[in-house]
Symmetry: C3
Subunit: 231 residues, 3 copies
């Protein structure tokens, strides 16, 4: 079902049982799998591939209990050139994926997220709202990127890394601040990052560590709580 | 494909490529997205929203190796008023969601689960069978709720929290018992709860903690194994 | 949409909005749910059940940044007899599931994976490429199986267990080696396994442990880093 106001470029391939809503803009040489829904206004640039069972351009939702209501007037979702979007993914309105990004299967990216060139968002990675991810970043399978987190260029985040942004856990009065991970820092699998910690440039966080305070540039930390590795 | 025995209320909106099986009952002002399957007998109350790619009312399955076979004669899935069900979710037969509940994208809820009013089941949260979740509970993205777990009213569970219920790991002879989390307790991200631990009222579990024994009311614990925070 | 070159056995049930591509081979008494895509060449043996929203036989993808390009000439996906594939799953080309396997909802299995008879791949479990999983293995909900990992027969992996294979985190020069888990070993929930560790036969890893070095047969380890349990 392709709405008549949608604009499709040259040589676009579209699978079976696809829904493309009003005012969607699709560039040249785009491939779209089966069972895909593209919500109103979404923009997809040239040479991009969308796999099966994707939902693109979803609007945020909320319930009565949610302290922080989602923003209402969002820009459309913008997906750049040469991007690949895996199967069973869900990408929200108001986010931007620059060229060459790979979003793997079953990942989710909420509103007001920016993903820089050639970065990889791994399988089943959940990226919350208001996140900035630099260029050439790798976030491996199953990691969790909390809202208001910053991940600079060339950072490597291993699998199953967890982050949070609410020191007082649902106190509802303090501002939320996720971790800030500086350029080329590396984080081992299943590490835990507490709210607002800063991980310095080229720092290394060992697998399974619990990072409760800032880590300096070039520092290597391990353990629970994470401490500098003895040499 | 809407079965002719399904009953739809007034002002129901249904997307494209939707399957509604026999004897489904849908209230007034319900919105159903694209690519949704609603299994036989499911009941959806007024003013509820179902997003794209949902599977509602699934029956349990098993294989030869599974020690504990699923129950066969389950009640239909019941989804109350003003509920929101995110995209790519899977909800089983025999569960009840009370009014105002939000189930976020990619979450799963198995059979014999009860979710109280206005509670939030976060993105990619997996809730196993035979779980009781109270009112105004928040379970954040990526947490895992094991079978036979109890979560009382107003509990806050941060992201990526893990729980288990089988002290002997597949011994197959002992009864399963998940953790019991008392009213308004708060659990930090990526914490690990061992089988049958009791987390007392207003207790706080630090991020990344491994809770190996009961935590008293108002106690604050951190570390691996989790111990009372020194003041 | 069933391609005319696909071959279907006797008594095959197919749901609504299903796509079956060229040269797919489906045995007798197979049941296929709604909203399913089966890619070219996939083979499904007798008495197997495929639930809704599955993608079977996906080809690997990559982007410019990925150091290790996926293999191109893969065998088709082979799914054996009496297998059950849960909803919203994604299984790649070049993998083999032996008879009696259960792949639960929202799980993912990449290319060059072998899953032995009657093993269970739990809900939301992500299995990467080049993994060998033995017979009668249980991998519970939300666990992560890294590439180049070996899991022998009758191993029990609890929920939310994490593994990794890249000691130098994206150095791109060393070979990747995941953990090797020997027969009947048991791993508690949310444990972290570092690259290339060997977990011996009948060893037990406590919940929340961080396994930084090899664990001997019959050893019981807990903590961060994991150490032998004092008796």
């Amino acid at each position: 079902m392709i709405d008549k106001t949608a604009i499709l470029g040259e040589n676009v391939k579209i699978g079976h049982y696809v829904v493309i809503e009003e005012d969607v803009l699709i560039g040249d040489h785009v491939e779209i799998g089966n069972h895909v829904t593209i919500k109103a206004g979404t923009i997809i640039a040239d040479h991009t591939t969308i796999h099966d069972f994707c939902l693109l351009g979803k609007a945020p939702t909320s319930n009565k209990k949610m302290a922080r209501k989602p923003v209402v007037d969002l820009e459309p979702l913008y997906i750049g050139e040469n991007v690949t979007i895996g199967s069973h993914t869900c990408l929200y309105q108001g986010s931007v994926l620059y060229q060459g990004v790979l979003v793997a299967d079953m990942a989710s990216i909420r509103e007001k997220v920016c993903v820089g060139e050639d970065s990889i968002i791994g399988k089943n990675v959940m990226v919350e709202n208001n996140v900035v991810i630099g260029q050439h970043v790798t976030i491996q399978t199953g990691s969790y990127v909390t809202a208001h987190m910053v991940i600079e260029d060339e950072v490597f985040i291993g699998p199953c890394v967890s982050s949070s942004n609410d020191k007082y856990m649902a106190s509802r009065t303090k501002p939320l601040q996720g971790p800030i991970v500086k350029k080329t820092a590396r984080i081992g699998n299943n590490a835990t990052l507490l709210p607002s910690v800063i991980v310095g440039e080229k720092a290394i966080i060992g697998a399974g560590s619990v990072v409760t305070k800032d880590v300096s540039a070039n520092q290597v930390v391990i353990g629970n709580p994470a401490k500098e590795l003895e040499k």
